[in-house]
């Protein structure tokens, strides 16, 4: 189980899909354009489409509400559908099937709905308001769902394996800017990484950044930058947003006394608000400075490069926040 190979973030996802489809005939893939020679808008399912064919990698008409609803029914029958929404933005089209049906079923009548929705999210690639969204907050607020957002190839693989094996509906947000741009070591084998356990992406003593998804990398970059000035930053990669590893957060903040919460999604009432509110409530005595949050602006995501850059969090804004917080 040692990390032997370097894989892209995308290939790590594709590998996890293949492993679990081999392991378990109840795992099938559904979505628009996922099948055939095409293999998905981002080609994430190309490998499994070729390996398992159309009975297990099924093209759906562009009807998210119905095919996520159908995934609910399959899951109730003991199957483990892995649904791709073409872009995370289109998850809103299947909203009721997720937040009203899947999320509530186990509580109401005790039946499990073990599916995964894979949602390619995030931006920075000039795709505009409808191909760049990070809608995880809607789902973290919804009782009954699990929400995952891997930042590395290793986690992308391990968390997808865990998500598929989990007996609950799990939304798995892929950071699409990382698909091909990020390569990293990936373990052989089929070990899952448990949901709900954060990872220390970079250890440090003076300030904790709590983040997930693509901004983990921006945060590490920022941390490296300020290290030159003797500021030691710890970066906590949450990995799972629901359940959330609150112990890891508290432990880090107890050590550093300063917390900066960062995500790509827009800041207003985002997941970062939950994290910051949690820290303010549970670690008040540890805090040497106010908990700060960085996220996208509270605007639809613009497409033109200068505007999108102004919308997004990046290493530069993180560095600035770190410096201000340390000086507080």
């Amino acid at each position: 189980m040692t990390a032997t190979r370097q894989l892209t973030y995308l290939d790590a996802i594709a590998e996890a899909l293949a492993i679990e489809m081999e392991n378990d005939p109840d795992v099938i893939v559904l979505g628009t354009d996922v099948g055939g020679d095409f293999g998905g808008a981002f080609k994430v399912t190309k490998r499994v489409a070729a390996q398992f064919g159309p009975l297990r990698v099924k093209n759906m008409p562009m009807t998210e509400l119905a095919f996520i609803g159908a995934a609910n029914g399959m899951a109730l029958m003991g199957m483990r559908p892995v649904v791709e929404v073409q872009f995370a933005d289109f998850i809103s089209t299947g909203f009721d099937s997720i937040v009203q049906y899947a999320a509530t079923t186990h509580y109401r009548w005790g039946a499990s709905v073990p599916w995964v929705i894979r949602a390619p999210s995030d931006g920075g690639i000039r795709s505009g308001p409808f191909h760049s969204q990070n809608p995880e907050a809607w789902f973290v607020h919804t009782p009954g769902l699990k929400v995952v957002a891997p930042a590395t190839p290793e986690d992308a693989k391990g968390l997808l394996l865990a998500a598929i094996r989990d007996d609950n509906p799990v939304i798995y947000f892929e950071a699409k800017p990382l698909y091909r741009s990020l390569k990293g070591p990936v373990s052989d084998g089929s070990a899952a990484i448990p949901l709900g356990v954060a990872r220390i992406a970079r250890a440090g003593d003076d300030l904790s950044i709590i983040t997930y998804g693509s901004t983990v990398h921006d945060s590490v970059q920022a941390a490296d930058e300020v290290a030159g000035d003797g500021i030691s930053v710890e970066v906590i990669d949450l990995r799972s947003l629901k359940p959330m590893d609150t112990d890891a957060i508290l432990e880090s903040v107890a050590k550093t006394g300063r917390a900066l919460v960062v995500h790509a999604a827009n800041r207003m009432a985002g997941v970062g608000a939950e994290v910051a509110a949690f820290i303010g409530e549970e670690a008040f005595g540890d805090l040497d400075a106010p908990v700060r949050r960085l996220g996208g602006l509270d605007i639809p995501i613009p497409f033109s490069p200068p505007l999108e850059d102004a919308y997004r969090v990046g290493p530069h804004s993180i560095v600035q926040a770190i410096r201000e917080m340390v000086a507080w």
Binding site: M60, T63, G73, M74, M79, W109, P143
Partner: protein, 323 residues
Amino acid sequence: MSESLDSAAKLNLAYWMRLTRTLDDALVAMWKQGRGVGGTFSGKGHEAIAVGAGYALGPDDVVAPMHRDLGCYLVRGMSPERIMANQLGKEPGVTRGRDANLHGMGDLEFNIIGFVSHLPQSLPVALGAAMSFQYREEPRVALTFTGDGSSNTGLFHETLNLAAVQKAPFVLVVENNQYAYSTPLHEQMAIEDIAVRAQAHGVVGEIVDGNDVAAVHAVVSAAVARARDGGGPTLIEAKTMRMLGHAIHDGAEYVPAELLEKWQERDPVTLWEDTLLEEGVLSPERLERLHSECRDEVEAAIAEAEKAPLPDPATVATGVYAP
């Protein structure tokens, strides 16, 4: 139509319909007396559809009933006590006090899938069940119900279309009861027959008298058989009338009295009992006994349910997730 049913089956249908009506009447009465919790729905007028369709399924088939389908839960084997306990929010209820009235009364032991309010969410769920049967090459069928109002929703169409493309073993029964809450058909749609919607998706469409249990049973049985044989999905429009308000609080003053009177003459439960009396399958005495058995069963169920405990508030946050 009733020729294809043997006497035992005919009597069974009469029993389930009468039991349904008796339980339905009891729910209405209790809620009017203030003995209920929250609201409740009556399926009065829908008994032939709920029972006739439910009875057409095999034990391994899956059904996702809606809020008028009390009879379907019963015919699938859910006990009146458990149903009553659910409506009263009691611990032995199907949802253990989690979900209201008939909502959420799923139990996979009976191959029943529970519904949510958001209509018609059960449609794709039942379709997904049908798609798993197909994938696993199991000779099973999934059937679900919906209303005239729900037949206007996008999800109705998305589901039928997907079912058609997949040629899934899926049967959809529309209970056209003339109203969606207060809204009559002509304010909901500009067509006469909901069954024509099948053509938009390349699905077989049928119309049936929803107050004739034998007719419902026959058309559903044929659709189920076709589905089981790989013949794909069917849309069945069963025409009937919602005989009471939308839910218990609704006096339905907006429904013309003549319309109700007209349909009252064709009450599905008595219609079937009269048929069986005429055919000699039922004697007046046997019918009387049937009625009193149903009354006893329902009264016992109420007594049990009323004395059952409420859920322990300490358990409120348990069971949100599967372990």
